[in-house]
Subunit: 209 residues, 4 copies
């Protein structure tokens, strides 16, 4: 039986890291491009400039939320990644799908910033987070069941990673469901969860997360 392309393809973890870092770096910078300074023609005093900047501030909240989303999943992916000995073709494609959902974050963020009171915009944003989580989850299962893990990767650690995904996604889903009342409730809840994850154990109210 001849050697098959699929046995050789996509085994390089460093390339996957390089592509991932590029995609995340790009998505982070693109998010800022939507924060455009006000047009000079309409501004004639310090007070007017200040007001124009204050008018920009609602966009800061969706921008901050997306930066936290990107940060959380960049660290998450890296942590999963560090447990692997090598990649394979299917794992590479699952990660490629993961990265594709990451590149969608600037789109779903711009949509939500533009239509912050619309439930459809919020649900699309949540769907984006859900897809990022699901592709990460699928990668984890592939890694575990197809022998990609390093010898010293503890099963204990694997369970901690899975628990994190399940609890995190449950909280995001609950947050999204809050849009029955108002999209602001959803956004507030999701940002609170994310800050809790980002700021970390020491200052965080829910240490059991």
């Amino acid at each position: 039986m001849p050697t098959h392309y699929n046995q050789l393809a996509g085994r390089n973890l460093d390339r996957l890291s390089g592509l991932s870092d590029g995609v995340f770096a790009f998505a982070m910078t693109v998010l800022v491009l939507d924060l455009r300074p006000p047009a000079a023609a309409a501004i004639h005093s310090e007070a007017a400039l200040w007001q124009a900047l204050v008018a920009l501030s609602p966009r800061l909240i969706t921008w901050l939320m997306s930066m936290l989303t990107l940060g959380i999943f960049w660290i998450g992916q890296q942590t999963h990644h560090d447990r692997l000995a090598h990649s394979d073709r299917a794992y590479s494609w699952l990660q490629m799908t993961f990265l594709i959902t990451v590149t969608l974050v600037p789109f779903s963020t711009a949509l939500l910033a533009e239509f912050i009171e619309y439930r459809i915009a919020l649900l699309i944003y949540w769907l984006n987070i859900l897809l990022i989580g699901l592709t990460l989850l699928a990668s984890t299962y592939r890694a575990r069941h197809f022998g990609l893990l390093r010898k010293d990767a503890s099963p204990e650690g694997g369970r901690a990673l899975l628990r994190r995904i399940y609890i995190g996604q449950a909280l995001y889903a609950f947050g999204a469901a809050l849009c029955v009342f108002s999209t602001y409730w959803s956004i507030g809840f999701i940002v609170a969860v994310q800050l809790n994850y980002a700021i970390g154990p020491r200052f965080r109210p829910f240490t059991w997360l």
Copy 2:
């Protein structure tokens, strides 16, 4: 005889990987920038936003096709790359040409999305895929015939990589030819081939590919 620049130049495989990952990461994110959210001024209800998003959906098919194209060739290039011991100047230029054709994907995708029923747009898109394949093929020949391969790179594996390029390009060419009937036939066929490659052996109908 003095040392010549060309003997020293472009031997670093890591730099080639770094540049490639940057180009692919950038091209993937740029593709999403063409998915602009609808303008807020024209939308006054959830239903109107939903319709505006549905109107965006034809662009999703060209976007998905291009993401698959980028994914397939990123994994392909990486697989070829992993067989090399070092690069040389000519190989670096062949790969630079490969990357240049990759940077053209966002252009040919935007063209096809804008003119999805025009055969010229489809043929330019196909020409782009063909050029990516040809430059990858040329790199492979350079690597094989100028001693760039690693000692443990099996000739068997080399043949599997070549077979993949030939069969893939034949299928793309057949798909492009389907535009005699309709560009939608071409796009449908190409996406089907790409999904077959991406989803992989287990679920894939044509395992002999």
Copy 3:
């Protein structure tokens, strides 16, 4: 007690380097995108083109200032980084925050270029530099007090890095305060300080910095 996600997460220094290089590379290139060539329709002679380019030149000063800012902090971060044995989750988040403030540089630069005589624009630019410095400082403390340093990282070296941040930020703050007189004084002073840092010991007037 079960293994906790936070003990495993974000330990990879190479990934942090990869993300950082991507963010800095992107921010540097985005800065140039604001230098748009004049529109062809309005230009009908070499002299007119020359004048249009001269009219562009005030933007060059804010562009140069931001390139120096990015260069100084890229080298600064790298120097801190090279003293570390590994990262941890909290350090990764501090660095993520550092990178987020870096992605804001194209925004604050565009704002200052558009409103170069407005104190608010200047103070926002300075606030950006201050935040970059503070997050770098916080990372340094995390690294020192949570055992992330390499065995051979000298305390002497650590003090030199801290001194550099304190003196640099004091000079930036003084420069920003000069906007009481005029924003041009501030910009001139900050550029002078940065050139002093960039051009280095040999030619630099204030070697004690």
Copy 4:
């Protein structure tokens, strides 16, 4: 005497490679963004689309020239780089300046594409190439005279690299001077020189270059 920041700073060659690959990858992709597909509203037949694409073709020549410029200097920088054992702060700043001149390529290319018959646009483009060459040259001198070279970097090789820069820049200067006759002569000559460098020894007419 206390340890000085400047003795510790900017010694990491890998970070310099990472930043450089990011900047080049980004510049290559940004160049393509200026090739916009024609607007759908104005096109109503295959023939009209074909004509609109043909009308785009003059931009292809400046685009190709800039891709060659980026490729030549990416390989050039990499070749110099591979001779180094480590970097230092001054070398990092020289390379940062090199990268800044690289980020200007999309700007000077867009200017030349827009004003292809204007000598000022051509001279600015040439000035850009000159600055890239000069900063690379300055880096080389720094590396040689401040002990940054690897033990096994042959002086012979160093001379070959310098020769390449001097001859290349002399040819670019001659090409730029041809704009006394016409900017098209300059562009044609520069593209010919670059293709000669890119296509390499085997097929190239001037093997003594």
